[in-house]
């Protein structure tokens, strides 16, 4: 399901359809997180990706893409690029297949008592406090950078 949606992202011609495929893929991955007992990450995934990032994408698509002409001439370079990508996928597949994943069986859930959300929150604010603050600083810097970059300089000067 996530894979099909991901294929739609790169295969569809209109960016809006790609965005729909992307949000489907995100939601499918969030469901997979729930199956992997990572409920907190699943919730964050739905909120941040399927909420925030998708709205951002749609805004930019609507701002930018109004008069997009859809000419698509076949180029020989595309085949070369696709071949490169498929080669990379094959290499990674070989690596994954040769690993011994079957040795370690998924055991019982150790954090079943306190709940996943509580455990992740405790780890986030004790062990990972410094990365947490750094991440917040990073988000602030990204916000300022986005505002500075997206400002319309010509309109301000004129």
């Amino acid at each position: 399901m996530a894979l099909l949606a991901g294929l739609q992202v790169i295969a569809s011609r209109s960016p809006i359809h790609s965005a729909i495929g992307l949000v489907t893929s995100f939601l499918a991955i969030a469901g997979l997180y729930v199956l992997l007992h990572a409920e907190f990450v699943a919730a964050v995934q739905v909120l941040v990706y399927a909420g925030g990032i998708m709205v951002l994408f749609l805004f930019v698509i609507l701002l930018v893409n109004l008069r997009e002409r859809s000419v698509r001439r076949p180029r020989p370079r595309t085949i070369l690029q696709a071949a490169t990508g498929l080669l990379a996928i094959g290499a990674m597949l070989v690596v994954v297949r040769r690993g011994h994943w079957a040795d370690v069986q998924p055991g019982a859930v150790t954090d079943a008592g306190g709940g996943n959300l509580e455990a992740v929150g405790a780890a986030l604010f004790t062990d990972a406090l410094l990365p947490f603050e750094i991440a917040s600083l990073l988000l602030l810097v990204a916000m300022v950078a986005a505002i500075v970059l997206a400002r319309d300089l010509r309109r301000e000067e004129g």
């Binding site: 062990d127 990972a128 988000l139």
Partner: protein, 101 residues
């Protein structure tokens, strides 16, 4: 329902491959950004799968940080796309060749 970690790894690998194909073959800057998001998701899926397999919570915490970094990255990326569109009237990456000339 237990999910075998090997299957999750294969799925994440295929998602990553789809992202690579998207970055390499598409010329629309927005779709390239979306493919990068797909690859980030694949990496995140690996983190969560290994966190589950080793019964260790650090993987999940790291996944949350990855999501935050991805949010910042896509913000700046989309701002750059907007600036490109204002400057070149196009978001095809083939049209942007200032460094070549």
């Amino acid at each position: 329902m237990p999910v075998p970690p090997g299957h999750v790894l294969v799925l994440s690998l295929l998602l990553f491959g789809v992202g690579i194909l998207g970055v390499l073959t598409r010329r629309n800057a927005i779709i390239i950004l979306m493919s990068i998001e797909l690859m980030m998701n694949a990496a995140n899926l690996n983190l969560i799968a290994f966190s589950r397999q080793h019964q260790h919570l650090v993987g999940q915490v790291f996944g949350v940080f990855t999501i935050a970094v991805a949010a910042g990255e896509v913000t700046v990326g989309l701002a750059i796309v907007l600036a490109l569109y204002r400057h070149f009237d196009s978001i095809k990456v083939d049209d942007v060749r200032l460094m070549k000339e």
